[in-house]
Symmetry: C2
Subunit: 304 residues, 2 copies
């Protein structure tokens, strides 16, 4: 078994406005956030596509975190661009502009090395592409996936087919309700587990997360933050921290899954403290460990 | 020191409509919910007022839980009545009718026994009445209080004066934001602690609660429920369970406060499983303990 993580998803240049400021041409995309988060814990292979305009500075930053970019294709055209604006209540945002560019024809062929990965994550892209990638892997120990509202609505058949082959689905609470057609999150989770996944992570933003399996529920609050600069990518960082931690543990069980959720939450909490990936730029593994210990103190009524 | 709890607040007859049904003339009011919740853990003295129409059946139920009702005055007139309707999203409700009746002139004189109480809770009533009651106590170990949006807006001066003499304030997240004039809950909490309380409990409904003190934050998720019948009184039950647990512990420190928050959350989770106080009717202390243990399993990543 290898403890390498392979993640397939979008790599983008984001422009974000929040009540507190704005930042243009930030490194973004689900694959970028996930990779940076997972790289605290394990070797990461990112699979994605960018255009000729993708800045060397972004590439260098990813490389500086030890992320293997052999699977990041550079092709003629422009990189995927997204711009959005957050409301005063940072739980709500509007997409101002979306240009798929080179991402529109993204249909990756995995390298021999990637095919052998044990920890596979299909970040938020169209379900048929997720499925096309998934079938190229040899025999992963665990397959995770994310999705979003538009695919739940417009590509439900493909998504449901994919979910039969997904071990861990990571979505937010409104997506869980939408996917299950059930307003109560506990009942929604049960329906989603019936669709295939063994484990469901329901992310609730500033309120924390719930992780469901057939016979277990794990609940964690979010790390309370005085400053939230930009929530973009928090969910991808959560999933990346979770998968990285699982890969480091080298096994998937109740204990490793629970600790992985806390690590995911910790990495996400750093990410939202800056624009784009800036919140993670200065963070080292020892900072992650310090906040993990703070998280234990924050939630502990067990051991005293 | 005595471990008796004394709570001052409203006793009402509620009519509630939810997406799932309706129930009329239910036992309600902050004092009723608080008392029933606290009574799982400690002797409770309730101080309130009802009219001649208050049914014996309600009185008998309170008495069956060992609640001392010497401080519950019965006067000429009708009992406080509230009726409300919950939206599909049970976090939102409309008040359909409110008749203060005998509660309008509520201005209690405490008995000698009540004055000696060490665990005092001023449930959600007008701040000037809370202050008038508070000055009648001899020297409580801890004074808790609740309040609500209309008092934060319309009686801010009285409320701020009261808060100087309150040790633990229990409010929900929107009230915390309103009271502090600060949208971030961590910064809002710091401002509220500066107003007087040593401890602030911020209730977040189905998302759990945060408890703040000068040098500590404790975060707990809510117990995940498949069925929420009626959220009315959940916050009062949370505070009641918390105060009852503190009184049982007989001391106020980091450990007892944290366990008390979990007990508060547990009792509130039972309360919302039925209309009015019905969710608590069949619950015994052993059920509370069982759910406390389930809560430990739900949140544990510390001890494995």
């Amino acid at each position: 078994m290898s403890n390498e993580v392979c993640v397939v998803g979008s790599v983008a240049l984001d422009s974000v406005e929040t009540p507190g400021g704005r930042a243009d041409d930030q490194l973004g995309g689900s694959c970028s956030y996930f990779s940076l988060a997972a790289a605290f814990f394990a070797p990461v292979n990112m699979v994605g596509v960018v255009g000729r305009d993708f800045p060397d500075e972004k590439r260098d930053f990813l490389a500086s975190r030890g992320i293997n970019m052999d699977g990041l294709d550079t092709v003629d055209g422009d990189t995927f661009r997204w711009s959005g604006r957050y409301h005063e209540n940072m739980n709500v945002r509007d997409t101002l502009d979306l240009q798929l560019n080179v991402f529109e024809s993204f249909n990756p062929r995995l390298s021999e090395a990637c095919r052998k990965s044990d920890f596979v994550f299909l970040a938020n892209i169209i379900p048929s592409v997720q499925a096309g990638v998934l079938e190229q892997f040899d025999s992963p120990l665990i397959v995770g996936a994310d999705t979003m509202d538009i695919y739940i609505d417009d590509a439900r058949e493909d998504l449901e087919a994919l979910l039969k082959n997904v071990d861990l689905l990571s979505i937010n609470d409104s997506e869980a309700v939408q996917l299950a057609g059930e307003a109560n999150v506990v009942r929604a989770a049960r329906r989603i587990l019936d669709m295939g996944p063994d484990t469901l992570l329901v992310k609730r933003g500033e309120y924390g997360a719930l992780q469901f399996s057939a016979d277990d529920i794990f609940a964690v609050p979010a790390f309370p933050l005085e400053t939230v600069v930009d929530p973009t990518g928090a969910g991808d960082c959560f999933a990346g921290g979770l998968f990285g931690s699982l890969a480091e543990a080298g096994e998937v069980n109740r204990r490793s899954l629970r600790r992985a959720v806390v690590y995911g939450s910790v990495v996400a909490s750093f990410a939202v403290e800056g624009f784009g990936v800036e919140g993670l730029r200065q963070v080292e593994r020892e900072d992650v460990e310090r906040r993990f210990r703070e998280f234990m103190a924050l939630t502990d009524f067990h051991t005293e």
